[in-house]
Symmetry: C2
Subunit: 152 residues, 2 copies
DNA sequence: CTAGTTTAGTCAGATGATCTGACGAAAGGA
DNA sequence: TCCTTTCGTCAGATCATCTGACTAAACTAG
């Protein structure tokens, strides 16, 4: 009568429990973005969109904020610039630097990202109920607060 | 008196809230593994360790369970085999197939993985309190339950 | 039993997402 | 005016995936 189960199946690790909803969320959000007319945007580009300021940001600032190397960030920015989502102009205050800005199309991505994210969250709410989702979010916020430095 | 903040900072997306603890957990777990004498093990190898059965598994089974292609899984298995964590022998029941097994060293990784994971979870518990962490885990379990198919 | 189909795994090649190291040019400080 | 630090780029490596094409073995209908 006992069914054979995978050894680790009984009690999933916290890592697994975090990763599963994260992966599904990402898939929805970025998949939805493609459907909304932004097919070049991939999850890795979130590192840019999450940190870029309306007034523009420097490459080094973005890299630092995202916790990656300048070269890694440069690779992402290059792709987004080529696809028309970003534009970079020399920084008038520093001859070595460039300021990276969202184009109008890039701003549209930001908005779509917020919409998709909210919709995905609502879908989760439909699964376990809004109250539980709110409780989950609040616990995650509390945990995030304690897990500083908020290197993302 | 108002401090300039990043626009999205006020209310982080659920994705961010899930990713931050996940990333820190992974870093602890796999970083700790290197310190425990398994320096070749990277986070991607979790796809193998999470799914391999004590009686051995086929490549195709592992790929299917992990939700990736056979080729992708083959790449991971190849690395682990070369480093002495896995070994594969022809499947007596099927001339096309091979059964992939953990070596003793591979089993040691499994154990270390459980230990590190538990320790990381306890550390989280120290941050927000055991009761809240338990509540968080339970909500995540509930969510995971609803987010089937449990493709991981 | 043979012919056709499906399955297990490999080979080759591509892309994406990172990293490290070395560098030139500009800025800032003493 | 040096010296040092910072900004960004160039070159190259590695890892983690993917798609497509293929062989050999196994299953399935006649």
């Amino acid at each position: 009568m006992t069914v054979e189960r995978h050894p680790t199946e009984a009690r999933r690790s916290l890592g697994w429990l975090l990763r599963l909803p994260y992966a599904q969320l990402s898939e929805r959000v970025y998949g939805g973005l493609a459907a909304r007319g932004f097919p070049e945007i991939r999850a890795a580009h979130g590192a840019v969109f999450r940190h870029i300021l309306p007034s523009g940001s420097r490459l080094t600032e973005l890299a630092e904020a995202a916790g990656m190397t300048k070269q890694g960030m440069a690779y992402l920015v290059e792709g987004l610039t080529g696809a028309g989502y970003l534009e970079s102009r020399p920084d008038p205050a520093d001859g070595r630097a460039r300021r990276i800005h969202l184009t109008r199309r890039g701003q549209a991505v930001m908005e779509a990202l917020l919409v998709q994210s909210r919709e995905a969250e609502e879908e989760f709410g439909r699964r376990i109920g809004a109250a539980k989702l709110a409780r989950l979010r609040s616990l995650l916020e509390e945990l995030a607060e304690e897990l500083s430095p908020v290197r993302d």
